[in-house]
């Protein structure tokens, strides 16, 4: 079950909300845990068992670290074992090299624990935080399992630290206003997924349907741009849906994406794209390493290494590594070369080019493919544009224009930052209707297959 399915929107969500609000306030955390378990069970019973066992094991490691905290060296033992356990899990299920692990765990065929890239990072972060004494080890088991299983964030939801999550739980505020904000956010995410991402994916696959050695330059650009936008709308759509649902339960989760595609510097792009994961890497990997090394050039290598890990996290393959490497190096070069002030337009163009370059590697199935695709973009196939390009542009022009506009902050500015109070109030008054109309459009678009579960990247 994904958020963008009829089963979830018209079955699970209303029942979950009703149950939640009928329960007295002090039991509501338990209800959330119960509902999260039900959500996992709707994926499969095996997934529920898997994630429950996973939470228990990690919780126990955390407890052990807490008990042994007085002796730092002794406490490092459960920490190391815990981290190794988590890493085996993430590699075991995200790559194909661990068939024995599947067999050992009696996993059903084709089993993929959805969201594993997020909850393993959460678990590792919590272990380290416990070890460092940043959070108290005597956390409640209910809260910890809720942290791992919380259904609004299990599918590509925002990644957040246990400390932040606990604070969010403490400052829970359930009221109708928050449900309203949550529903608009959810519908916004749904539209991103169903209207933008799914159709952009069709455009991308239309380009990819020809052999890479026959794609014309214009087509290659069109395809990769479609992929980039599709990736953005897909990831941010799921994140928005997740935060929206959490809002409905009175919980305010942080945002992951902040309109990154129209950034004037690579630096800004990097700060706005899936910021929680990048913060995680900085907090737990690059920052501790920084303090260990004093020389500037070593720090820069560490910096690039952090980005390489980020790319690797996306695909668990060499292509992702190269994508991250390019991004890291580009950031360093920008830092040295770029003058303080640069024209907005030039900034947008070069940032976009670097991001596109990264996307070529991120989207390819293999290194060879990506290099060939890059050649095609440079006109290496001897064609600038062909009939297919014009046909695709003609067919998709409405979608392309809408999505390009919606992906930039211009859209948001029009919505909430308009200078004139009158326009602001008109938009505010129209917003409930827009939300409901969008919900209905999205429902229609998923009505045929019942769900839109194209994930692009299995995280």
């Amino acid at each position: 079950m994904v958020y963008s399915s009829l089963m979830f929107i018209y079955g699970f969500l209303p029942v979950a909300l009703l149950l939640y609000y009928l329960t007295p306030k002090r039991f509501r955390e338990y209800v959330m845990l119960f509902e999260s378990m039900a959500f996992c069970c709707f994926i499969s019973l095996y997934f529920l068992l898997f994630i429950a066992a996973y939470s228990i094991v990690n919780y126990l490691f955390g407890q052990m670290i807490g008990k042994l905290k007085k002796n730092e060296k002794l406490a490092a033992i459960p920490l190391t074992i815990g981290i190794i356990f988590d890493l085996i899990m993430i590699f075991g299920f995200r790559t194909k090299y661990f068939v024995w692990l599947h067999d050992m765990l009696h996993a059903p065929e084709g089993f993929y624990p959805i969201g594993i890239s997020f909850f393993t990072l959460s678990a590792i972060g919590t272990l380290i935080d416990t070890y460092k004494g940043r959070i108290k080890a005597d956390m409640s088991f209910v809260r910890y399992s809720l942290y791992i299983m919380f259904f609004p964030r299990i599918i590509m939801g925002p990644l957040l630290r246990y400390g932040v999550f606990a604070k969010v739980l403490d400052s829970r505020r359930e009221n109708l206003t928050n449900i309203g904000i949550g529903m608009s956010l959810f519908i916004k995410g749904l539209a991103k997924k169903v209207i933008a991402a799914d159709n952009l994916y069709m455009l991308y696959s239309a380009v990819r349907s020809s052999d890479v050695s026959t794609i014309s330059a214009a087509n290659a650009w069109l395809g990769i741009t479609a992929y980039l936008f599709c990736l953005y709308f897909n990831l941010s759509g799921f994140a928005d849906m997740g935060t929206g649902i959490a809002y409905c339960f009175g919980l305010k989760l942080p945002q992951s994406f902040n309109y990154p595609l129209l950034s004037t510097r690579i630096k800004y792009f990097a700060a706005r794209w899936q910021s929680q994961v990048i913060q995680w890497l900085r907090r737990y990997i690059t920052k501790p390493l920084y303090s260990a090394c004093t020389k500037k050039w070593i720090r820069e290598i560490v910096f690039v290494g952090g980005w390489t890990l980020f790319g690797f996290w996306y695909t668990v393959s060499l292509n992702g590594v190269i994508c991250g490497l390019i991004m890291g190096i580009a950031l360093i070069i920008e830092n040295y070369v770029l003058p303080e002030k640069v024209m907005k337009f030039t900034g947008i163009i070069y940032t976009f080019l670097v991001v596109i370059l990264c996307t070529v590697f991120l989207s390819g199935d293999s290194l060879a493919f990506s290099v060939k695709y890059l050649l095609a973009m440079l006109g290496g196939n001897g064609m600038i544009a062909d009939a297919k390009f014009f046909y695709l542009v003609k067919s998709y022009i409405v979608l392309i224009l809408i999505t390009m506009y919606a992906s930039t902050s211009l859209f948001r500015n029009m919505m909430i930052r308009s200078g004139k109070a009158k326009i602001r109030s008109i938009i505010a008054v129209a917003s409930p209707l827009i939300a409901v109309a969008t919900l209905i459009i999205c429902t229609a678009l998923i009505s045929y297959s019942g769900s839109s579960d194209m994930l692009l990247i299995y995280l």
Binding site: M1, S5, L6, M7, I9, Y10, G11, P14, L17, C41, F42, I43, S44, L45, Y46, F47, P108, E109, F111, L176, T177, N178, I179, G180, I181, G182, M183, S184, I187, I195, N199, L203, A206, S209, S210, A387, K388, Y391, L392, S395, Y396, V398, L399, S425, A428, V429, S431, P432, A435, V436, L439, I440, T443, A444, L445, S447, Y448, S449, G450, S451
Partner: protein
């Protein structure tokens, strides 16, 4: 947040929750139908909970399917969605190209090489086994995409029915007489030979091929002006409509060709797998009210259909076919005293258990070329 925004958030909450809960209540308590008329298919049933299926996730998939199929006003939602899809993206809905002229299937069939070659060796061994008693003929019929594929956008022409037909005919044994339906139909493409809303040919398309087939089988074809033609329906929408619910092209016409001077049908028996026999009809007009109007030809699919006519020439024909043959068989009737029509996809036992194949001097295999990716042997 100012007061206006707060009020509007409350309104959003109330409105959207009302929409969600009313749609879900309507779906939950609404009357459940088993059969979708618009899509011409059986809707999913509520899955029985079983531990094994819950364990590996199949149960929730089936549940999803059930909720989707029985969502309130499903066909209206799909209709709206497909119209939006046409505007936003290519005019392709669920693999069907939508134009005001006609609907065309663009899905390149899963080229199941194994099933395809199994079918070829089945036909070859059939012809070998009965080589002393029956002559085997093969007619492979292109789909509407095979004939009208040139109106598709440029990147879809990779699918070629004619190539596949050639490939098939090359691999059939030289004893089998192959009928080149493709070029006959291609020449006639300006006529109404294929339905606009279906992959199959019209009666007129079948007639054009019949003229060649019947000569190969050793008869003179009946000329077109001898028939009196009745339009029995002008609102037929076929399998491509079921997939898109698009009413952009005009609805299709179903024709019945009567030949008053020809032999009459004496009996038409439907034989089921269990051997039970019931009375059937060449034109079952009651099917015109169903979701599959095309099944008016020869009625609902049965494993074996036995047709006896007043023709006294003692010639018997065995036809092994798929749905393309349904509107084709009526043209053959007057030439034979007995025709046996076999649908291998319905048959669950060896054909020899039901009839004696050696009684039939001629055997005609008639299939849509894209249906040969599924097993046809019996």
């Amino acid at each position: 947040m100012n007061k206006l925004n707060r009020t509007m958030s409350i309104i959003t909450a109330v409105l959207s929750l009302t929409v969600i809960s009313s749609l879900s209540l309507m779906s939950f308590f609404g009357k459940k139908v088993q059969w979708s008329f618009e899509e011409n298919r059986q809707l999913a049933a509520l899955p029985e909970p079983s531990f094994k299926e819950m364990y590996n996730g199949e149960w929730s998939e089936k549940n999803d399917r059930y909720v989707t199929d029985h969502f309130v006003g499903r066909s209206k939602w799909i209709y709206a969605s497909n119209r939006m899809q046409e505007e936003m993206t290519e005019s392709i809905v669920n693999g069907v190209y939508v134009s005001s002229e006609r609907l065309l299937d663009t899905v390149i069939p899963e080229q199941d090489k194994k099933a395809f070659s199994d079918n070829i060796s089945f036909v070859n061994s059939f012809s070998k086994e009965y080589k002393d008693t029956t002559t085997v003929y093969f007619a492979a019929i292109p789909s509407s995409t095979g004939i009208y594929g040139d109106i598709l956008p440029s990147d879809f022409i990779s699918r070629s029915d004619s190539q596949r037909i050639n490939e098939l005919y090359e691999q059939l044994s030289s004893k089998i007489r192959c009928i080149d339906a493709y070029n006959i139909l291609k020449m006639m493409k300006d006529n109404y030979i294929f339905y606009r809303n279906d992959t199959k040919w019209t009666s007129y398309g079948a007639y054009c091929v019949y003229k060649t087939v019947i000569q190969k089988l050793g008869f003179q074809p009946t000329s077109y002006d001898k028939y009196s033609i009745e339009h029995v329906s002008d609102s037929f929408r076929g399998d491509l409509y079921n997939r898109t619910l698009s009413d952009k092209p005009k609805a299709d016409i179903l024709d019945i060709y009567y030949y008053p001077d020809g032999a009459e049908v004496i009996s038409c028996e439907r034989v089921l797998n269990d051997g039970s026999v019931s009375e059937g009809e060449i034109y079952d007009r009651s099917r015109l009210g169903s979701s599959d109007k095309y099944s008016m030809y020869l009625g609902e699919d049965v494993p074996v259909l036995k047709i006896k006519t007043s023709n006294q020439n003692e010639k018997k024909l065995l036809v092994i076919k798929d749905s393309y043959a349904d509107c084709f068989i009526p043209f053959l009737i007057q030439h034979y005293s007995e025709i046996i029509v076999v649908s291998p996809d319905q048959l669950d036992r060896p054909l020899a258990d039901i009839i004696n194949i050696n009684d039939y001097g001629q055997t005609l295999f008639l299939f849509g070329i894209n249906d040969l990716d599924e097993k046809i042997s019996f």
